[in-house]
Symmetry: C2
Subunit: 403 residues, 2 copies
């Protein structure tokens, strides 16, 4: 224990960390704001964390070895992350290559299995913390205090603007989830959408929603991998799916986008990215949340694109937006925590709240961001300047009616 306390004394340089042991004993590290409290029920966990922080921090939390005061888990993890220093493993080139080959070799069958691990979880669970439309990706906050429903709508509209949609166009949505974006684009922008998902449960939910909203004629959903699909589209969009592609398949992904895009076509890729150099996926996240997942560095994204026929026409870095989104999801999740614990168990609950809080902390400190990359077959497929994205748009007609 003394060794771990000495290590914390050495590491904590930003803010204050208060470590509380079961008998009431308190150790203080660092100074000033913010103050984070780390409450141990089983102090032995500290040794496991020090030995293998990537995996053990989450696992000891799941077992209830330690806690933060209510509502302060993300803040605690943010302080830990900011001060991680020697804990943050900058993966070397060889380790990265090995990790990519071993952990992200997402062949088609593996991709189906990986998607099922997460997205075939009961829709009931996702309804406990997502917005009404079930967008499961970073929202777009025109201001920090905008509500989640509005921020997700604003994201859909921001993406629609970047796609330069015209009524009647054919749009491919790679990773269509519960159908939220595909249905929005069809309803409010008059386009025909094909959505691809690898989750049977998502497929069924999306098809049901299309029928309920009277859009089944114009939106079709397929249980298909991006590599299995053939078709020609005016526009392609992919939101929150690229994180599952894996480094070895980036060239394949962009080659497929290029192959499915008609001349003059525009695509929009929305993906989590790491704001530092290429790395490896956190071991806990890989084991419990997203097997096969990897968030690219911008250099890796650009490399994949440059070897396709596509041209980058714009890259927006959404930074704090995902921290705000995750905070909103956590708040909703906590409101339903008792129900979720009853249905899925306490360990599942702790896993989920740790996942949301750790993700929030990663965006908070700026290790992760979200890249919206606009791509085109030709440099003139999008307007000369970006003003068109920021003109006061009158709300689309159907939106106004609904409102």
């Amino acid at each position: 224990m003394q060794r771990e306390l000495a290590m914390l004394a050495r590491l904590v340089r930003q803010g204050t960390l208060e470590l509380e042991l079961p008998g009431g004993e308190v150790h203080r590290f660092g100074s000033g704001a913010p103050l984070a409290r780390w409450r141990f029920a089983r102090p032995a966990a500290l040794r496991r964390i020090a030995a293998n922080p990537e995996l053990a921090l989450g696992e000891t939390y799941m077992r209830g070895d330690w806690d933060a005061p209510p509502g302060e888990l993300a803040a605690l993890l943010t302080v830990l992350l900011r001060n991680a220093g020697e804990f943050v493993q900058r993966a070397g080139r060889l380790r990265r290559l090995l990790a990519a080959a071993l952990q992200q070799w997402n062949r088609v069958q593996v991709s189906y299995r990986n998607a099922s691990h997460h997205y075939d979880l009961d829709e009931w669970l996702f309804r406990r913390f997502l917005d009404r439309d079930m967008y499961y990706s970073c929202a777009y906050f025109t201001a920090p205090d905008v509500g989640l429903e509005d921020a997700q709508r604003a994201k859909a509209e921001h993406i629609a603007a970047k796609l330069c949609l015209q009524p009647g166009q054919r749009v491919l949505d790679i990773g269509s989830g519960w159908g939220s974006l595909a249905l929005h684009l069809a309803q409010h922008h008059g386009v025909e959408v094909t959505g691809l998902t690898l989750s049977r449960r998502q497929l069924e939910a999306a098809q049901r929603a299309a029928r309920e909203r009277g859009l089944a004629e114009r939106v079709r959903f397929l249980l298909q991998d991006y590599r299995e699909h053939q078709g020609q589209y005016d526009r392609i969009v992919s939101v929150g799916m690229f994180e599952h592609v894996g480094r070895p398949f980036y060239a394949r992904f962009f080659g497929q986008v290029a192959a499915c895009l008609r001349p003059g076509g525009v695509a929009l890729l929305h993906t989590i990215c790491r704001l530092g150099p290429p790395g490896t996926t956190n071991a806990w996240v890989r084991k419990y949340i997203f097997p096969g997942g990897y968030s690219p560095a911008l250099s890796e994204l650009a490399d994949g694109i440059e070897h396709s026929a596509l041209k980058v026409t714009d890259v927006e870095l959404l930074r704090r937006h995902y921290a705000l989104t995750l905070r909103a999801w956590q708040a909703r999740f906590q409101q339903h925590r008792a129900e979720v614990a009853e249905r899925l168990g306490e360990t599942f609950c702790r896993m989920w709240e740790f996942y949301l809080a750790a993700s929030e902390a990663s965006f908070e400190v700026g290790d992760l961001g979200v890249a919206q990359v606009q791509l085109a077959t030709h440099i003139d497929a999008v307007p000369l300047t970006r003003d068109y994205l920021y003109r006061q748009r009158s709300a689309p007609q159907a939106l106004r009616r609904a409102g």
Copy 2:
């Protein structure tokens, strides 16, 4: 000759190329628009071009071996470039590494020499084709028919907006040229600017301009390499200089920007970039125009940034803007062609017009673009969304007075 004609017949797939030989003989390749005419005074040059297109195309033009109809040189080069096919050499990784090591090893002393090669050319020459303020980089056209003076002013204002300037801030301008941007920012945004240049002639011209405009108290210019400078700044800007840094020094460049930027600081890098994968600099450009020069692929830019403490917060890809800028420069240059030929010789004139036309063609076909990369020390150093760049700005006060 037959071999070269057969090769052209094989290559030309987009538009029509009409090759005119001295006796009046005309060979037509391809079909449809656009039509480009290639007039040979010495047909033997065609063999040299086929053997070594990178170097010989420009050299044979400089010697007067061939011509395009007046005003159609860039259009001819655009058709040649679009159909280049097997001519466009995709440099392999080894060739790229060797080229970077041999041709872009821009140590400080080499950088001074390289800069002198181009920027110590008589200011008189640059006044023959640049705008009044002497911006020697891609302008920002809010519409294709905006005049060059306005488009360069708009570029300065677009960059000022991206820098989120506050009066009184200290700004470092790496590669300050004839001082245009530094003086604009000081005059219209109330900041103090330090400009670095490696050209003695540019230094003197910029210092003279600062005195004439009564800005010598707030703008200083130094004959210094970016690696020689020490200082702490709120903002850093670099426009059209990064093309001279060289691949081996990207990490050094961004490390230096990070070191000179105060916490909360913002930087804006404006550089030509290649829209395809990493490559090598065209041999003719390297020999006659920019020794040591190299335009990065986005993946190379991102790689350099990721190994520094800086975070990318926005990447705008200006595409056709530089083709429009170069067309305007060429038009002005042609107006003064007789004067330039008299003073600097016919061969120099042909070299210069080929440089402008070949550059225009590269931007026209989308081989090259311009990246404006916004960087920050912290993710919250710039606003949450990019709306602030597109609000109707009332013209800065001093601009209104001047107008």
